[in-house]
Amino acid sequence: MMRRSGFVLTMLAFGYAFLYVPIILLIIYSFNESRLVTVWGGWSTKWYVGLLHNQQMLSAAWLSLRIAALSATISVILGTMAGMAMARFGRFKGRTLFGGMITAPLVMPEVITGLSLLLLFVSLEQLIGWPEGRGMTTITIAHVTFTMAFVAVIVQSRLVSLDESIEEAAMDLGARPAKIFFVITLPIISPAIVSGWLLAFTLSLDDLVIASFVSGPASTTLPMVIFSSVRLGVTPEINALATIIVAIVTTGIIAAGVIMARQERIRRIDEQMASASNA
């Protein structure tokens, strides 16, 4: 057994503390009895109960979830098409430029994306009368715009590592291009599409800046509610909400990890079986 030096242990503790102490503090204070956030007044779960009765908070959460699911679905469809084109279109002049342009929204400052989309929506409404006002539709479109790039990148990198002769084999065996896409390509890249969807969902659920630009008076997303109420002073209710979000995210990550680990284990057993039957 290697002796671990005290120095390395200290570094480790410090690093993890830096990452997790704020979150742990937030979780602890969400169970605070006291109305004042910074004063400890004993254990209580009353803020969680209060949250259940906060109509504004609940409807904002519901809106956020709907927008996230819808925009993730649309951006998966568009992003897969874009990724497919990037990976399979072949070589042409300016390919690198086009590839870069698809991923530009990844690095574009959100303020600029939000502002430009607002301008677009306003002038569209003046020209053709759609979208009528700003609300869920405009937020969804805006979220599709910036999450699509992430999906495209994920799908493209999966397609690049996919042996192209698999698709050729399907064509050779008599399948037409459209059928090949749905029966061969799509099932093989489905894990990438699922993770693209999850990423788009999270990004959309998370977004404050772009949503603030393109939302209307009747449509307030969860991050917007949190942000505006924090400006009036942090309440323990917000701490409770944040704790719930942390719990959901943690559960999701652990579930994904467990599923991946199990698949890995099954694959290893399969491979052992294969090499055993080979002998």
């Binding site: 698999i166 050729e168 084999a169 064509m171 050779d172 065996l173 399969d270 294969a274």
Partner: protein
């Protein structure tokens, strides 16, 4: 016409390309393929007959794979035409060609079982379900994979995957089966065993095989005929024996097996023999047939290492022709054979292969021995290009 009976009792013609009445099954007519400025396949014409096991043999970049992909329809010829069973393939997409291909990477569908992989092609043709079941079982039997039907590709070993790929490309009973380096991913022992299996299966199903390979031994073992390709053009077409014994060019002679090449000039050219003067060989070269080449032309004479012999004593009949002297520089003992590297007095290095008839003799030829190198009048081949 000579005939032979295969295991399945089906009669095939032994050498259909020699029969002028026989129609080629696959006809490649002046096909050229360019990628930008690069010419991958350069004006290739070939006729391949029904039931042949035909090899396209060449190094990397010789255009053999491009030619195969044009047969499958994945590439379109820049010019020229391809006919399969008399039908022009120019405007027929890959999914409608009566051709199947076995890919070098096998290209199995990872999300389908062995059975589903094999049934895929039949499903595209809307073959009734019960027939699909029968035909899949048949072909699984043929490649001896019946008990692996429900497995996924990643649950199989390399050799098993190779057989699934073969089964999948055979099940549609194509007019032509294209195989791209079918044994390339297998280890050496498995490869040798699979070569014979592949030939057996081909004889059983009677499908015309066109195979791409860079391995000359593989091509020699399996093929009815071989086309040797070099930078886009076909250097020679013939049976394995023709190509080995009578190479048409220096490239073919050097590509297939090993060879000793002597540069020289023609001194005498008669219908029954030629005499060639060669400083490299250190003696005159006598060959027992005439060649259609004017006197004085610079030529090369190719002699295979196993057709030369070495001895300490001069050969019994020493005419001064096809006999020269040298010094042993290297010996590689291989058990059944020994390879000798001999430096002739002219400085030219030659390679000689001798079977080891005797157990270790009392005075074996060894390093730095002076030896006589000799060969028969039929051993040499005169090459002009």
């Amino acid at each position: 016409m000579a005939q032979t009976t295969t295991q399945s009792g089906r009669k095939i013609k032994l050498e259909p390309w020699q029969d002028p009445k026989e129609q080629p099954y696959l006809r490649i007519e002046k096909v050229t393929k360019k990628f930008g400025d690069f010419t991958a396949v350069d004006d290739v014409s070939l006729s391949i007959y029904r039931g042949e096991f035909f090899s396209l043999l060449g190094g990397s970049g010789s255009g053999k794979t491009t030619l195969l992909r044009m047969l499958a329809g994945f590439e379109t010829p820049t010019s020229g035409k391809i006919f399969i069973d008399g039908v022009d393939m120019s405007n027929i997409p890959p999914y409608e060609r009566p051709v199947n291909m076995m890919f070098q990477s096998y290209a199995l569908f990872p999300h389908m079982t062995v059975e589903q992989n094999i049934a895929f092609g039949l499903k595209q043709d809307r073959v009734p379900r019960d027939q699909i079941r029968v035909r899949v079982a048949e072909v699984l039997d043929l490649v001896q994979l019946g008990r692996f039907a429900k497995r996924r590709p990643h649950q199989l070993s390399g050799g098993q995957r190779q057989r699934v790929a073969l089964a999948r490309s055979l099940v549609k009973r194509p007019k032509l089966l294209l195989l791209d380096e079918p044994l390339g991913a297998l280890d050496r022992r498995l490869r040798e065993q699979t070569q014979f299996e592949l030939v057996n299966i081909q004889e059983q199903v009677g499908i015309t095989f066109v195979i791409v390979t860079h391995d000359q031994e593989e091509a020699m073992t399996m093929s009815s005929r071989i086309a040797v390709m070099n930078s886009g053009w076909i250097a020679q077409v013939g049976t394995p024996a023709q190509i080995y014994e009578y190479p048409a060019t220096k490239f073919v002679a050097e590509f297939i097996g090993s060879v000793n090449m002597f540069a020289g000039r023609i001194l005498e050219d008669e219908p029954d023999h030629v005499l060639i003067q060669s400083e490299e060989a250190g003696c005159d070269l006598y060959i027992n047939h005439g060649v259609p080449v004017p006197l004085g032309t610079p030529v090369s004479v190719a002699v295979r290492p196993e057709k030369m012999s070495i001895s300490r004593e001069p050969p019994p009949v020493d005419s001064g022709r096809n006999v020269t002297r040298g010094t042993v520089r290297e010996i590689a003992y291989l058990g059944n054979l020994s390879n000798y590297l001999i430096e002739l007095d002219s400085g030219k290095m030659v390679r000689i292969t001798q079977p080891n008839f005797n157990r270790l003799t009392e005075m074996p030829i060894t390093w730095e021995d002076r030896v006589h190198v000799s060969w028969q009048p039929f051993a040499g081949v005169v090459l002009t290009q």
